[in-house]
Subunit: 431 residues, 4 copies
């Protein structure tokens, strides 16, 4: 698929000199691959994209309208060099996602604004309301209880005995595998390996510290190397796949809920009774009771593993899109149990989130707007003094934002005024 890259490189000047129409013809006649336009016209990526749009408009979905719908999708004045070859292929433009801010939230003693990219009406207003209530009560605190990205290759051996021996080797010789793993990375540290055996297949869940990166790339490289060394010690071992779904990435799974993935974070706030009543318009008893009926019993009845919350995913998705995180990882990052108890006459609320997968470098965090929003939050890029501190801080803020969202939505439901509020603004209803 990626063949002829060199040929392309040497002939770049040729393509640049052609007219758009000529290049389109070349694409249609398969002299130039559809995907290779950026390579052919580098560094004029905007032109490459413009040409691709013409191809798409003409061939994929001819339109009788005066203005082809694709015209509505913007593509100009963007830093495409940060995208090409890194974040996206077959580029035809970009999709703007509306961005609002909630807060700032007083979290661990600092005020931090919460950027949220969303199209769900009322979500930011609601999160903001939660932040106000929390701020009025002295803010929230967070704790990062655990940290480690995971990747679980699946391997095969020739007997059950060998499978048991392989597990034993990993337990007793972690340092050998650590050395191999860490030879591939500056920041990554292999922390442990959790093994599961199914017959002669062994799933090896590597857990690694990955600095300020979300870390999937880093850990995959490290695993690959560690498996190479492992094979020297267990020659019969065959790697079936670098990922055996025991990781688990972007799929619901109990293992992430129980073991954690990325950062395991808890955030809590003690909301004063009068704030609950005046700002949140409900009583401490009513919200505590509803939290049990909905977030515990309701989710239990629904057969949920990790979904003991009202709408954590809304907040996580909005902050993730704003800050260049991987939105597919919302699947596990948004697992959360929301606890509420009456303490004295006040409301103690907390969210426990075992699998917040975030990075301050890499992936979409390098795009201009996303990077800027991380800067606004004070956690962009690699933390030089304390590697990993920026991604941990981002994870704390995600948990804090979820805390705001849970407090606000649950109080709205407890007060029973939510539907009317939503409907008035033609917004989406409660989750």
């Amino acid at each position: 698929m990626r063949m002829c890259a060199m040929a392309l490189a040497s002939s770049k000047s040729k393509w640049a000199a052609m007219t758009n129409a000529e290049i389109i013809k070349a694409v249609e006649e398969k002299q130039l691959a559809f995907y290779a336009l950026e390579q052919a016209l580098a560094p004029d990526y905007e032109r490459a994209i413009e040409i691709r749009r013409e191809v798409v408009k003409a061939k994929w979905c001819p339109s009788a309208a005066d203005t082809h719908p694709l015209e509505t999708v913007p593509f100009k004045n963007y830093e495409w060099d940060r995208v090409v070859g890194q974040c996206c292929e077959n580029i035809v433009g970009y999709v703007p996602i509306p961005l609002g801010v909630a807060g700032p939230l007083l979290i661990d003693g600092k005020k931090i604004g919460l950027p949220m990219a969303t199209t769900e009406g009322a979500l930011i207003a609601s999160t903001n309301r939660g932040a106000n209530a929390i701020n009025s009560s002295g803010g929230c605190t967070t704790a990062v209880l655990k940290e480690g990205m995971t990747r679980a290759p699946v391997v095969e051996v020739d007997s059950l005995e060998e499978a048991a021996a392989l597990v034993k080797f990993c337990e007793e010789n972690l340092s050998i595998l650590q050395e191999a793993f860490e030879s591939t990375t500056r920041f990554g540290k292999l922390k442990s390996i959790k093994c599961a055996v199914a017959g002669r297949k062994v799933f090896l869940r590597f857990v690694a510290f990955t600095g300020d990166a979300m870390g999937m790339n880093m850990i995959t490289k490290g695993c690959d190397k560690a498996l190479e060394v492992l094979k020297q010690h267990v020659p019969s071992m065959r790697v079936l796949a670098l990922s055996g779904n025991y990781c688990t990435d972007k799929k619901p799974s109990a293992i992430n809920w129980i073991e954690g993935r990325g950062k395991t974070v808890v955030a809590e706030a003690l909301i004063k009774a009068d704030v609950v009543e005046k700002t949140l318009k409900c009583s401490v008893d009513s919200i505590v009771s509803l939290n049990k009926d909905k977030n515990l019993v309701g989710s239990a009845m629904a057969g949920s593993v990790g979904g003991f919350n009202a709408h954590a995913a809304n907040v996580v998705a909005a902050v993730y899109i704003a800050t260049g995180q991987d939105p597919a990882q919302v699947v596990e990052s948004a697992t959360c149990i929301t606890s509420m108890d009456k303490v004295g006459s006040d409301l103690l609320i907390s969210v426990t989130m075992p699998s917040i997968e975030v990075g301050a470098v890499g992936g979409g965090t390098g795009l201009p707007a996303q990077r800027a929003l991380l800067e606004v939050m004070g956690c962009a890029g690699a933390n030089k003094e304390e590697p990993g501190a920026n991604s941990r801080q981002l994870a704390r803020v995600v948990a804090g934002a979820v805390l705001c969202g849970e407090l606000s939505l649950m109080s709205g439901l407890a007060a029973g005024h939510l539907l009317s509020a939503h409907m008035k603004l033609n917004r989406k209803p409660p989750q």
Copy 2:
């Protein structure tokens, strides 16, 4: 929070006449609410946003740099009137998400391009590769097996006997509740109610056809009305919350996996052996075997409910962001079991996705780029001849796109060349 809207309206001219500096001062002195800038300056939303950005820059995160990071976040030349009061609050701009296209995919006899907004390198290239392999084998087919958005209020009665009677009433008098429900909506049709009892709490999972809308709004309004009527028949009933998490929205849950939510779609393709070998560079046996070891056994070992796939969430998230769907609903929309079998010497692959929650109208589908991409796919807006046909078509395409993604990633893993390919492009590794 939204009070004084009328007061604002009448004084709009006042704010419009002020300088930005004056308005900023008014916001700082709380004469004008931070969130109310758009209302005060309507219809000049761009100016409202510009002013909010100044407030944020000055107060939330003062920066010593020449250029404040927020400057990097775009906000001009956007159709803010489609956003204000509908999709976002406290707006400060928008976040551009790179957009590429895969395919077009031959699906149910038609060629349809797959727009994907993503920052994950290699994702679109991979999906495209899958589409090519499918197209070379005659395309894929899909089936929509079920359709129905859900919402489950939780109510309380005064005894177990009453709880049982309530359940019985709902079973035997569905038509009464249908009439109430349908009085609130032009398209919505209440199909059934599934009840679960926990002590004296009853969870009523309403299932409704919602036309071309994803339907959360529609169904919530309908539920509210149906509960009002239900209360006339069961006076002791108290509504604890309009959503009791038995819905289940945006949380992992077995109930969605088993009952479905939104559209239940299956897509399949028969890939010829030589396409598997030449295009996908692996053998039918190896990919079938890996599908069992990874997507079935690996996910089983991980305690997954609904995550029997390689990376459905990647594809779903990318198509959802491109087309204005709710990215938080990726949580359940991406549940998927990927099946592979050898049929003759060819590869039969299918994806079964019980909970694809999509709409062709409402939410983010009204934003310009998102709407345009739905148009490109041929399923924008309400289908006049056959209400619901557009959202069903969108669901089919989502499943088809996931089929491409599964085929491509699994073949890459089976061929063992994935890490190198990813790493070469500094892209993220396999899921």
Copy 3:
């Protein structure tokens, strides 16, 4: 394996006339099958068993001891004709399980003793304590919300289109399948079929009323017939297996938790505050709070589906063994959510159990002691006036017994005196 039954029958007199030593020799020389002793010596089953014990003692585990351990296992004076060919093969005796009684419990206005066969010290005492507390407060009430045994064959067709058509056929022609199903049974009534599709495999979960039988036999026969008729309408359909695990029998599964299997029963009691304090030695607040922390939050953290209780399985297993139910079905029968709320100053406790699989006829219920205990409870055999009433009653009692067990153990934990109590009697600790 069962061949030569006729040959055996005709030569019965031959075996009966031989000495034990001769028969043992014949077994050792494989002239008589080890399993066929009962057939050869019928109706003298005790002699057959005695001979088998000799074979086992001599060949399987020769013992130097004066008394072979197997001598300790009783086998005499038992009604083996109720066992042979029905309940057990290769019989060598029986295992006595100690039997105690708790209660009687005041349930739905009647006092019913709770027979429990168990070796877990303190279990019956604890259940009895719960029954006392419930009786002191006016007893408990129950409701059977749903009823239906299930069986889910898995079938295969030749395309996705056919799979969709098959599902549609089952939905639209239930009566055809009902007729087929019901032709095989006097009591069974096919209520519904729930279909799940995975590629070209279709899982058809038949739900049937099975009278006073637990019903697995009845429903399997009915399914077999219904599939035969279904195949006439969908000729390409192939039955892969009569059970496709979507039933789900004797395995943990969300489908049983959500859809129910057997009887779905709720039991509740309102325990007066002074009973909680004086009999149960804890406070209403403390037990309500612990129920949330342990049975809801603790089980949620553990990733449980259906295990939101303290020790329902203990009680279910003990009653099942006493009454001839299938102890392997404890797996799903014991799924239970225990709810506790403060109502006024009293304690409202309930247990919701969606999958109580019991029968008043069939299986082990025909054995002498087990049958007798069902008689003592007033629900033995088929109810002539109202088929199914006896098995429903048994299910109610099971739920009531679980209610006793939950109340007692939870109050003990809340009072903090459990360990000492258990240890004093050298009994097992709390679950």
Copy 4:
């Protein structure tokens, strides 16, 4: 409830001297507690039980029949001194469970008979058939991959910060807690503690080696002591309950599936193609294919965690009841994934069972028949040379027996002859 034990002791001679009628009157007039009969008449427990039966017959369920049903329940000639005060209360007799044997199975090079107490027709015959097929192919091998009983108290502290500190203390000072734990037990060894935080509640899952005992008693005592010491270091900590359901005992849970509880055992066998065809009457391809469709896909569709098998619970329950194990622990002990692959032309089958909870001492293992059957299997009582070896051996045999059951039932289903076979004997159908 257990008060007045001393008073009873001193007056024993008094009761012994009375007639049965007098004692019955005393019980009815509450001069003697119903539960205290054994204490009053010790050591003549049989008489105590006889009297209790009279009370039950007269008061709980008067019968017009000539023979009261309870007469059918045996109680004579049993070693009640092994039961009273240990295994059962309010004793009225015992329930005989038919006992058969399967095998002997060639497991890890030794032939071991499989005692099974069951009322499910065909179960033993089927297990036996599996054993024959395995023996014909050279037997099966097993591996114990992990060992540790668990108990998880739930505690509470006063802030999130303290919760984090508590977790850290447990991680960094395991040896302090080990010392405390191990001061209470001769065999028990605390191996690790896994902490989960939900707000200010902390669940501490203790994992301990418990020698040849199943170990719930041992670990609970150890936890109690360790918590006492932990509280000295974290004075704000309050123990909410000695079991917080994060253990998890006798409830379905992902944590046991993923972390294991008791013994984690895998058993495998390579069945020769001709054995599959001749003994098992199916083909290797058909059984491998069915294992995927039923045990993997079917269970996945059903939302199962840990139920990827055909009927492990049947075999586990039968062996547990025969050998005095806790039948309520079948819930988690029977979780199992059954793998089948074609290796060459043969069938590789394995069962992976992470949570086999068995003991060779304690609980019901001390009863005469149960103890004898453990002796027959060669693993009764505490292993003096290698503590724990007997319970591990029992766990291996359980896994081996399950392997037989899986092989046999799956081949029967694959061959399609199961229903007829079952029906002929009026037995229960496949699981």
